[in-house]
Amino acid sequence: MLIVLLTVFEITLTLWSVFEISNGVKFHELNLNHFKYSSQLMNKVSSLDANSNVKVDNLRAVVLNIRQQPIDCMDTINVVNKFIMEAIDTDSAIALCIQDIKDADHALSLIDDFENGSLDKEIFISKLKASAVTFNQTSILFEEPVSKTLSFIMKFMIPLVVIISFFNIIFISFMSNTITRSIRHAIQQLNHKKKKISLSDDISKNVSGELKVLLQAAQKRITSEMLMVEVNKKLETLDEQRTESLTRANQELSQFAYRTSHDLKAPLSATKILTRFIIEDINAGQLENAVQDTQHVHDQMEKLEELVMGILSLTEADSTENINSSINLDMVLDDIQQRLSGMMNLSDYTMERHINLDHALVNNQTRITQILENLISNALKYKDNSKPDVPFVRITISELVESYQLDIEDNGIGIPVDRHDEVFGMFKRFHPQISFGSGLGLAIVKKHVDYLKGTISMETSDQGTKFSINIPKVIV
């Protein structure tokens, strides 16, 4: 701000000095004219004698010219000029001008008197001569204060302008130096990373003034822009994830429809042909064959039934209402055993239960039941008859701090190593020779576990298989 004021003052002073100098030149010119007309008057008056005719109009014109110069001079002089002239004691020039106008008026009145005839020619000439001399003298007198004023301006104003300019330069370089230094200091401070201090604290601590405001504004802007970029990135990722999961769901659905229709149709087609065989065999009297094929038809129907049940529970897994209740696990396991005994002879197995809970398991009973039932039924189906031990399934349910752990372990035939990643897919059967399942069991389990936001893992070898499920506690 100061620098602006100083510069404006400097420019004003310079312009004013130039203006004053040009004024001084004008005063000189006026004076020169004054002197010229005075000389003209002198010549004209000197050439007058008693005999010659007096050209009054000519004389009047010259005197008017003389008079015009101080008038112009008074017009040119302004208040500041007047003030300075008074200050440096050259105001005599103004007085001279005023006196000069009066003298001119006097000369004019002489010419008027002479014209009227009220003034004698000889007296008129001598008086006019005296006037011309006065005009001449005024011209000479006027030169001194004008020169003095001019030289004052030259001597005083120009060095002042130079000094101010010089000061200005020093001041500007000092300021730019200060700015550079404070910027450099700020850069240095901010470059030096401090672990505990945040950037905004760092700025407010080490930087001051307008630079601080600038840095804070920049920081704010950058932060908001980075936030924007991050938000955009997140939105993009979310969009990609949604698209991906939608595509996956679509693929799964079309795969599901394909496999369902295939697996539904296969037993029906087989049965259709088998019944024709049975008729042929009965007609041919080959009743043993007919009985065998009827058994096949029965097996196919059982398979179909299981598939339909599987599909139903799979859709149920999606539509089951999320109602949580306190689950009596012993009762649930009793029911499962009851149902499974209808499908297979359970006296060949041992089933162990280890339930270690401080509080009753609160969760969705339908889902927990289906998880347990599918895993237990798998364990029983894929028993290993080649092992000397009695087939067993061991169910361990324990309470952890924030979750429940369900382990279902068996000593069955295990799942082939190279197909572990397919385990939870739909319509996957790994033991076609033994399987009579729909290939949906583990897919159903996985779906329920996902709905319960739990995790499932598997360890399997030819020694047996262990599924471990972790389900977070429901916040009541």
Binding site: A266, I273, R429
Partner: protein, 138 residues
């Protein structure tokens, strides 16, 4: 009917039983069954051994091939077999797809192999139909 060696590759025991019975009925005598693409490939790979072991039934002339099989499915089998048949005396073997799939996509995929002669959909097969096919395949 002229003697035709048949190989059935299907993981479903019942489907194999049905096809065998139908083929037997139309007069096909030599039928070998494999329950997966992988075992069928091994069987064809051991050409010399199997030619000795089954002098009358090996090599097959027609392979009935299921698509959905757990270890090596029908299409995987076709891919492997297409490289295998260039070097052995298997070049004349034709494959007849035998699947419950009615998907056009599957049929087109199978038809890309020039040794795939036909696509039979399970459950739509009658003995007369089969006899017709076998004769035309020869």
């Amino acid at each position: 009917m002229k003697r035709v060696n048949v190989l059935i590759v299907d993981d479903n025991e019942l489907d194999r039983y049905i096809l065998r019975r139908q083929l037997t009925k139309i007069g096909v005598e030599s039928i070998i069954e494999k329950d997966d693409g992988s075992t069928a490939l091994e069987f064809l790979q051991d050409y010399d051994k199997n030619a000795m072991l089954y002098p009358d039934e090996f090599p097959p002339v027609v392979i009935f091939l299921d698509i959905n099989m757990p270890k090596l499915n029908g299409f995987d089998f076709l891919k492997e077999f297409s490289t295998m048949r260039t070097r052995n005396e298997l070049a004349s073997v034709v494959v007849c797809m035998y699947s419950s799939s009615e998907r056009l996509e599957d049929k087109e995929k199978a038809a890309k192999f020039d040794f795939v002669a036909d696509f039979i959909v399970k459950g739509e097969v009658t003995e007369a139909f089969l006899a017709n096919k076998i004769t035309s395949l020869r």
